[in-house]
Amino acid sequence: MFAYYLDLAFRSLKRNRLLTVLMVLAIAIGIGASMTTLTVMHLLSGDPLPGRSAHIFFPQVDSTPASWYNPRHPLDMMDYRSAVDLWTAHRADRQAIVVQSPVKVSAPGADRPPLMLTLMATTSDFFPMFAVPFEYGSSWTPQDGANRNRVAVISSDLNDKLFGGKNSVGKTLRLKDSDVRIVGVLAPWRPTPLFYDVLGGFTGNGFDTSYYAKPEDVFMPLQSALEVNDGNFFQFTCWGNGPRVPGHLEDAPCLWTALWVELDSAAKVADYRAFIRNYAQQQKALGRFANTNTRMLDLMQRLDYEQVIPKNVRLQTWLALAFLAICLFNTVGLLLAKFLRRAGEIGVRRALGASRRSVFAQCLTEAGLIGFIGGAAGWLLTLVGLWLVRRQQTPYSDLVNMDVSMFVVTFLLAIAVSLLAGALPALRASRIAPALQLKTL
């Protein structure tokens, strides 16, 4: 029966070409616009650590002075001492301090000019905690960190650039004025968004797209990095008179570091919350803290809290959906016109014994067919739309692509929209009284 209805649908579509083209075009444009923005949303709102993100937490304490009024306390970053205190306690399954700084990098002997790159000063748990893949070598050991050894892990991009993608473990890299030994090279790694660098996002307030940039190119043990790149560390904010020496913040009243921890069970999460609360109270008793605010969000909560998805993208998505709604209304109107125009034909079918249900099914088949054709055209328009997005110079441009799931969604959405649009006209058509129609023939 379906094949018969499909045949009827094809005939009907061919009969009134203009109307058919208008309907297909409306659905295609609506689908193209909404699928373009939904694909970008899908990309930007994804989980950067699938399966692990629920165990990754961001503990925060508040060391700012009492005079600072900020309803969103504690601020995104931590002072050095608090971060080191919490890290040294080793109360989580894994823990890593993260600090970024710009650093001048060159490969000794190479005649290429030096590069300014971002140095990630962190601790060895960073790699297993965030499931960072290695191409060659491995992370440094906790012992390397404690001994302040001059060792580094580099990104696959930097390895390609400086060493032509060959195994560079054991080679030397010049960072600022120091030589460091490469112990590991990462495989290509692109967490989206770059969750552990989403700091101070609320000040960006959804207008900042830099959270979708690539990870850092050089990773070093925290204390080694603080020595090697001394003078190049930037504060998130300071109070009092700020740092004594610009760029040297270990002893300054400044917020500039962050801590991430991994907690593998609910009990451990509760314990850790209690631990940072106790720490804040203890520091207040010691007179170092003025506030005892603490907070600990998990990774996805944190991305949500920082509003990482750019506002433009959200706005575009709503716009596209409103647009799809307009196309839907348009299609309902046109389908209604089309079906009711065939009242005579439907009357004959009903008089010859077709049930209301079969008339309804026939009309819906036709609507679905329009949806399928519109979906195919919409898919092409989506590809054009994504190409336009890629041409915009955003940090995530290189990631914008349609994956299989979004391809399937395109067609499902198109057919769903057209069936939705077809339901009401089909119902109307199935209610046509056969006798009245036959009389006017």
Partner: protein
């Protein structure tokens, strides 16, 4: 024109009428808000930088320590000044649309109790206000002895005589003469000696408690913290070439530092880059509007054509009874006008509703009311244009149709 028969006919097609009206309502609401967003984006791009954009460019280098600053400045200034066509080179901290400059919270009292504003401080050596082309509106530019050195481990001189923008003066001391007024940022003290017409912050964002023009110019001597960013002035026609040569020259002048290629551009380029996403968004909105009006027009054409075909006999009878072609034409035009008007009434309410939601979640300003009548007129015109072809076809139906049974 009689409206009652038209309304009676529409009552027979309640659903189709309702659908087209809803489509127009949605189109009206989205159209008005999209146009408003475009105008917002475009007006945000009108930021007056206050500097001679067409004659200025910057060279930015990084990767050196404070100890090398004086030596680097000397080499860079000498080298860049040697390029043919360069009128002047000065060390500055940043430029409008350049890398993020220093941002400080300032207070109107030394104790830090009376909060003033979050401002951006530009620093520059002697001659840089003139090179930037700042327009003085009160007081005077810094004299030679106002340019003080920055002590080791400080960000600026402990006490400086500064220029502020008109906008900042009005924010800090509304209605008062700003000359001679003082303000503080942590341990640093500032006294206003001059007011400039405009100077915009380097990276303006629409959100937060700060204005696009809340800037302070602090005169300092180059060296220490002030190194690595060089303001180049050249004739507008020469500037592109001068900048290309300057970028190439850095490798020879200072092979030990790293050229920040992205920021070593003319201010015109930096401005263009800064607003690139706004332009892309505005372009996208224009695309949406065009597609939207197109789809709505298709809907009207489709439905009107259907109604004309359905009513051929009825039209023929009217013609046979003496109605002129113009009568028939006007019938369909009036019918369209009524449907569109019905849609617009709902659309205007919807447009205001969407604007309220946008204001709440996307920091969009309130929609000026005059957008609504403009949107209404546009949709009326669109409706009339779309219905014209089917209505003309209706008017062409000959009276003889009445005598035939179809």
């Amino acid at each position: 024109m009689q409206i009652r028969p038209i309304l009676a006919a529409l009552r027979k097609h309640k659903l189709a009428t309702f659908l087209i009206a809803m489509e127009i309502a949605l189109a009206c609401a989205v159209l008005v808000n999209a146009v408003f967003l475009i105008v917002n984006r475009l007006s945000a791009m009108d930021i007056v930088s206050g500097v001679d954009e067409s004659s200025l460019g910057t060279i930015v280098v990084t990767g050196f320590g404070p100890k090398d600053a004086n030596d680097l400045n000397a080499r860079m200034l000498a080298g860049l000044r040697g390029i043919a066509g360069v009128e002047s080179v000065h060390v500055v901290s940043s430029v409008p649309f350049g890398p993020q400059g220093g941002v400080n919270g300032i207070t109107l009292d030394q104790e830090g109790k009376h909060f003033g504003a979050v401002v951006q401080t530009y620093q520059g050596e002697a001659g840089s206000p003139e090179a930037l082309g700042l327009k003085l509106v009160a007081g005077h530019l810094p004299a030679a002895d106002d340019y003080q050195p920055i002590l080791d481990h400080d960000y600026m001189p402990l006490s400086s005589r500064v220029l502020v923008t008109q906008a900042l003066a009005e924010k800090l001391w509304p209605g008062a003469n700003p000359l001679g007024k003082e303000f503080w940022g942590a341990k640093y003290r500032f006294r206003v000696i001059g007011v400039v017409a405009n100077l915009s912050v380097s990276q303006y964002t629409e959100n937060g408690e700060h204005g696009a023009q809340w800037c302070v110019f602090v005169p300092v001597q180059a060296g220490g913290q002030l190194a690595g960013t060089y303001l180049i002035r050249a004739k507008p026609g020469d500037l592109e070439r001068v900048m290309t040569e300057a970028r190439a020259a850095v490798a020879k002048i200072a092979p030990d530092v790293v050229l920040d290629y992205a920021n070593s551009q003319t201010i015109g380029h930096l401005r263009e880059r800064f607003f690139r996403n706004d332009r892309a968004m505005a372009g996208l909105l224009v695309g949406v509007i065009v597609a939207l009006l197109g789809v709505t027009a298709f809907g009207i054409v489709g439905l009107a054509s259907f109604w004309v075909a359905q009513r051929r006999k009825q039209i023929g009878i009217r013609r046979a009874l003496g109605a002129t072609r113009a009568d028939i034409l006007r019938y369909f035009q009036t019918e369209n006008f009524l449907i569109v008007t019905f849609g617009i009434v709902v659309g205007v309410v919807l447009a205001i509703g969407i604007n309220i939601v946008l204001m709440k979640f996307f920091e969009v300003p309130r929609l000026p009311l005059w957008y609504l009548p403009v949107g209404v007129v546009v949709l009326w015109l669109l409706g009339q244009l779309a219905v014209l072809v089917p209505a003309l076809r209706a008017a062409a139906v000959p009276p003889v149709v009445a005598t035939r049974s179809v």
